[in-house]
């Protein structure tokens, strides 16, 4: 309490913030502002998109590396990826069609019962009965609802991209650990890769690899690899010096050092990275259905497009199950500590499994009974669900429309118009001033440079539209999430329920969130906002909850001894102490909002994300990249500013 009262060094900040807000408003309203300060005229803008377009067209048509044409290299790379992908896909679902001379050979995939059995047993080994039940249930769901084949396609893509992504991440992470200078470069690159909308780099990938699963796989790897690399570097850095010394003192060769000592000792951190790669891969594979990745994502996409929402919902539920299963299994595996008495070398088990699958594969070739799941057993609630949705929309048309129209009229539209009315120069200068006040001239410069990008490239209006949607959704998520978090932080039982719910919400791929909102609210900014709010809610809740729960007990006791009521204690002690944590929560929420914003282009928003999506369908590399970079810029900017603010707060509270 004492510390909270003593504001000290931070006091100078808030008047400055107020000043900046005034400045912004003044700039917006000042009539005398020259036109170029509102929007840069077209002939002042840089045609970055055009330049990029011609560069990429040169790269894809004419460029050579030594004697090799770039397009041949990418084609070879595509084939190299395609072979294993076809193999895994063929094995899990779809089978193979070979042509040998005049003969046509058809081969069935691994039968459903064999895969179900093997997975269930594996789940049992990894996470016990609960895990086994979950996996068995999910398999049955796919089978009964006729989703087996798309689910297996998705799984095949995920498996392969995880393999490539994790391997690549491991390599890059280890290099970055060894060469700090490389690390600095890679970190910036990852920041951009992770904030750049997937759609943006789909276009160049399409250009080189064409429409289809291979392009999708490459995009997925790019999207999912960074956390593996980051986690690898982090885990290696956290190893005690003595582990490295041990490697040296036992006379390890560099390779032994890497593979026998460092990486195994860092296992825990690596597996955390692997979990993230798996989840991001799933998310990306689903999104990549718009460039022909197929699988469950495609079912959702087709369902949404043709407004067969029941089908989309079933497939969405399938994705949800897949996500939960993958997350739970990889997490259980990561947490699994070696214990004595367990058979250390499961070589025999692996061999047995392999043999069983081989036999099953053979049996599937010759005995049709053993091949396919009996179609008579499959069901679909698609029609029923469609009817239910239609009924809900009809019966609740009034309230739904009122909610949606009201929000749009009184919140969304005014905010959007306000942001659009602001001059670019004012916003840029305001952000720079804010950065200067929070951290210093360096951050101010970065801010100004970053914000000029959309202004100079002529995407300012779209940037403001993206920003408005992200901001308003973040605001609502915080308003909804904070009270829940604050309550849960003080009530352990509530906490357990809330944690379970937000953990599950966080495993779901972005795409899944679109399904219910489209069902209820159709297309437009309002459903987009709802999807973003849902997606961004978990961190808002989590950080509030943890922030309050982590307030040192002695401060709570001091408050109690001073005779605070529980409400006073919350507002006077716990919330002020948890402020830095709440700021971090705000940061995460905003970043998640940007992450989801990108996907909402599919339900018809109008910002940068839409430009990126349109660029995919028109194969315009430059436009896609520049629009995507715009989103990247906005989210990096928000991240830096909020982090700086939170650091300031922390200093002020004496939390180091």
């Amino acid at each position: 309490m004492m510390r909270v009262a003593a504001t000290g060094s931070g006091r100078a900040v808030w008047p400055l913030l107020a000043g900046i807000a005034l400045l912004l408003a003044g700039l917006a309203l000042a009539a005398g502002l020259p036109d170029w300060a509102r929007r840069l005229p077209a002939d002042w803008q840089v045609d970055a998109a055009g330049t990029l377009n011609s560069f990429f067209s040169w790269l894809s048509r004419k460029a050579h590396v030594g004697p090799l044409a770039v397009k041949d290299i990418t084609r070879a790379l595509g084939t190299a990826v395609e072979l294993p992908l076809d193999l895994v896909r063929g094995l899990l679902a779809g089978g193979f069609r070979l042509r040998l001379g005049g003969m046509r050979l058809e081969m069935a995939p691994l039968p459903w019962w064999a895969l179900t059995a093997v997975w269930t047993l594996a789940a049992h080994r990894i996470s016990g009965r609960g895990g086994a039940a979950l996996v068995l249930g999910s398999c049955l769901y796919f089978l009964l609802f006729g989703l087996w084949e798309p689910a297996m396609f998705t799984l095949a893509s995920v498996a392969l991209s995880v393999l490539v992504g994790a391997g690549l991440g491991l390599l890059l992470g280890a290099w970055a650990w060894r060469w700090p200078r490389l690390d600095a470069v890679l970190t910036v690159l990852y920041d951009i890769m992770q904030t750049l909308p997937v759609f943006s780099y789909l276009v160049p990938i399409l250009l080189f690899f064409g429409f289809g699963p291979v392009a999708a796989l490459i995009a997925t790897v790019i999207y999912a690899m960074p956390p593996m690399a980051r986690n690898t570097t982090l885990a290696l850095r956290r190893l005690p010096q003595s582990v490295e010394d041990l490697a040296t003192m036992t006379g390890c060769t560099p390779r032994q050092r890497q593979w026998l000592v460092l990486l195994p000792a860092a296992r825990q951190g690596l597996l955390t990275g692997l979990n993230q790669v798996i989840m991001l891969s799933l998310s990306a594979v689903i999104i990549a259905s718009i460039i022909g990745a197929g699988g469950l994502g495609n079912d959702v996409l087709q369902g949404l497009k043709s407004m067969r929402l029941g089908r989309a919902f079933e497939a969405g539920l399938g994705i949800t199950l897949l996500a939960i299963v993958l997350d739970r299994m990889s997490r259980a595996y990561a947490l699994h500590r070696p214990r004595h008495g367990r058979p250390g070398r499961p070589a025999r088990l692996l061999l047995g499994t392999f043999g069983f699958l081989l036999l099953a594969l053979l049996a599937g070739q010759f005995l049709p009974v053993l091949r396919d799941f009996p179609p008579a057993l499959t069901v679909s609630t698609g029609k029923m669900l469609d009817d239910a949705v239609a009924w809900i929309n009809l019966a609740w048309q009034g309230p739904i429309a009122a909610l949606s129209d009201g929000t749009v009229r009184y919140l969304l539209r005014p905010l959007k118009e306000l942001l659009l009315a602001l001059p670019w120069l004012g916003v840029t200068a305001g952000a720079a001033l804010l950065a200067a006040a929070l951290q210093g001239p360096r951050l101010a410069l970065v801010c100004a440079a970053l914000l000029s990008l959309p202004a100079l490239t002529g995407y300012w209006d779209q940037a403001m539209i993206s920003l408005y949607l992200a901001l308003v959704s973040t605001l609502i998520a915080m308003v909804l999430g904070l009270p829940v978090g604050l309550l849960a932080g003080q009530r352990p039982r509530l906490d357990r329920v809330v944690t379970a719910v937000i953990d599950t919400l966080q495993t779901l791929p972005t795409f899944v969130y679109l399904i219910p909102v489209v069902m209820l609210f159709g297309l437009g900014d309002f459903p987009a906002m709802m999807a973003i709010v849902l997606y961004a809610l978990p961190p808002a809740i989590r950080y509030a909850k943890d922030g309050v729960a982590r307030v040192p007990p002695k401060l709570i006791e001091a408050a109690d001894m001073a005779g605070c009521t529980p409400r006073q204690r919350l507002w006077l002690v716990q919330v002020p102490q948890a402020l830095p944590e709440l700021m971090l929560g705000l940061n995460q929420t905003l970043l998640m909002a940007f992450g989801m914003l990108v996907i909402t282009a599919l339900v018809g928003t109008r910002g940068l994300e839409q430009e990126a999506l349109v660029a995919v369908s028109k194969a315009k590399v430059g436009e896609g990249l520049i629009a995507g970079l715009g989103i990247s810029v906005l989210s990096i900017l928000a991240d830096r500013l909020i982090t700086a603010a939170s650091q300031r707060l922390r200093q002020r509270l004496g939390q180091g």
Binding site: V243, D245, Q256, A265, R337, P338
Partner: protein
């Protein structure tokens, strides 16, 4: 009771020889390379912001010796040992192990040396979390490419030696601190090294286990005749195992001597203050405190090489002084009650 102490070894032909060793931490210390020793020294003295972890250390460790390094935290003990093992490269000076200069040594030779000749026990154990006890102990052999059956056989034998029988398949997380350090010790012994470096190996252990491990170390040393370089904070530990002790202060070695000489003839006030708390009776030998042979002395003689503490009970129980005999049985002096009492209490009262 400690085994018979060797006389301080001759300092010719040391197995480990440090010659004017400097280790300086700081930005661009690389600038020192190529300077003459004197110029470098002047440069180090003039530089602000550099940290001299080792300053001009010259010492030798003889074959078969137990060499203990003591000093306050941050005085450079670990740095010295890290230089001796080649884990850290000295900024200036030379380091010879058995006649081989570590500076500019062929990396392959260094690896070879670490695989067979030297080994190290770490303060924080440094066990590999993914390997069980047996595999951890056998790890150095795995690095050398020795077949699994052979290395497991050797590891199993060592598991018995360090008293971990029945825990071969346990993982480090499932062991207590003392057990983990035993694994670390067994692992460092499996290559049958000639020189054994131990950096505060027992400081994480409770007093009972520490005592037991010291005993084990002495037993091993007596049977295997290793050269041991041992870092510790603990005087009791040092005087129990050391042939010689090096006292470090701010990166410099202030004095290297037997425990007895450190007490009797401290090189400066720092060493004097440092050794004041040592119980005299546990380091001083009869020869150092005895009076000239006396007519009044009676009874069976005590050995001149014995520790005062070990003969105190007998002297105190006797009315008359007790004669002191040298190794050959000749009477060389006498010891009376008063001397013993003074010796026993002088350390404690200071």
């Amino acid at each position: 009771m400690p085994p018979d102490r060797k006389t301080p070894p001759m300092t010719e032909n040391g197995l480990i020889r440090c010659q004017n060793l400097w280790k300086v931490y700081g930005a661009d210390v690389g600038a020192l390379r190529g300077l003459t020793p004197d110029a470098a020294r002047a440069r180090i003295a003039a530089s602000e912001g550099w940290l001299t972890a080792l300053g001009d250390v010259t010492l030798e460790v003889a074959r078969g010796e137990v060499f203990v390094i003591m000093g306050l935290s941050g005085s450079g003990k670990s740095t010295l040992v890290r230089c001796m093992t080649g884990l850290a490269a000295p900024t200036l000076g030379d380091l010879m192990i058995d006649g081989v200069n570590l500076r500019g040594i062929d990396p392959a030779l260094l690896i070879e040396m670490r695989r067979h000749k030297i080994s190290m026990v770490f303060q924080d154990f440094a066990l590999l979390p993914h390997l069980n006890v047996r595999d951890n102990i056998a790890f150095p052999l795995r690095v050398q490419g020795i077949p699994r059956a052979r290395r497991e056989e050797l590891a199993d034998r060592l598991i018995q030696t360090v008293g971990l029988g029945g825990r071969a398949t346990h993982f480090p997380k499932e062991l207590s601190g003392g057990q983990q350090q035993r694994v670390g010790i067994a692992r460092s012994l499996i290559t049958e090294p000639e020189i054994w470096f131990l950096d505060e190996p027992f400081s994480a252990l409770d007093p009972l286990i520490r005592d037991e491990m010291q005993g084990e170390l002495l037993r091993l040393q007596a049977s295997l005749q290793k050269t041991i370089v041992f870092i510790t904070h603990d005087f009791d530990e040092a005087i129990r195992i050391a042939d010689r002790i090096a006292i470090m202060h701010n990166g410099r070695v202030v004095q290297i001597d037997t425990p007895e000489r450190l007490v009797l003839a401290p090189a400066d006030d720092y060493v004097a203050a440092f050794t004041r708390k040592i119980p005299r009776a546990r380091v001083l030998r009869v020869a150092s405190v005895q009076a000239p042979a006396s007519e009044r002395a009676a009874g069976a003689p005590v050995s001149a090489a014995a520790l005062v503490g070990d003969v105190a009970a007998r002297v105190l129980a006797s009315e008359t002084p007790i004669p002191v005999a040298d190794g050959a049985g000749r009477i060389v002096g006498s010891l009376d009650r008063r001397t013993v009492i003074e010796t026993v209490f002088s350390g404690a009262s200071a």
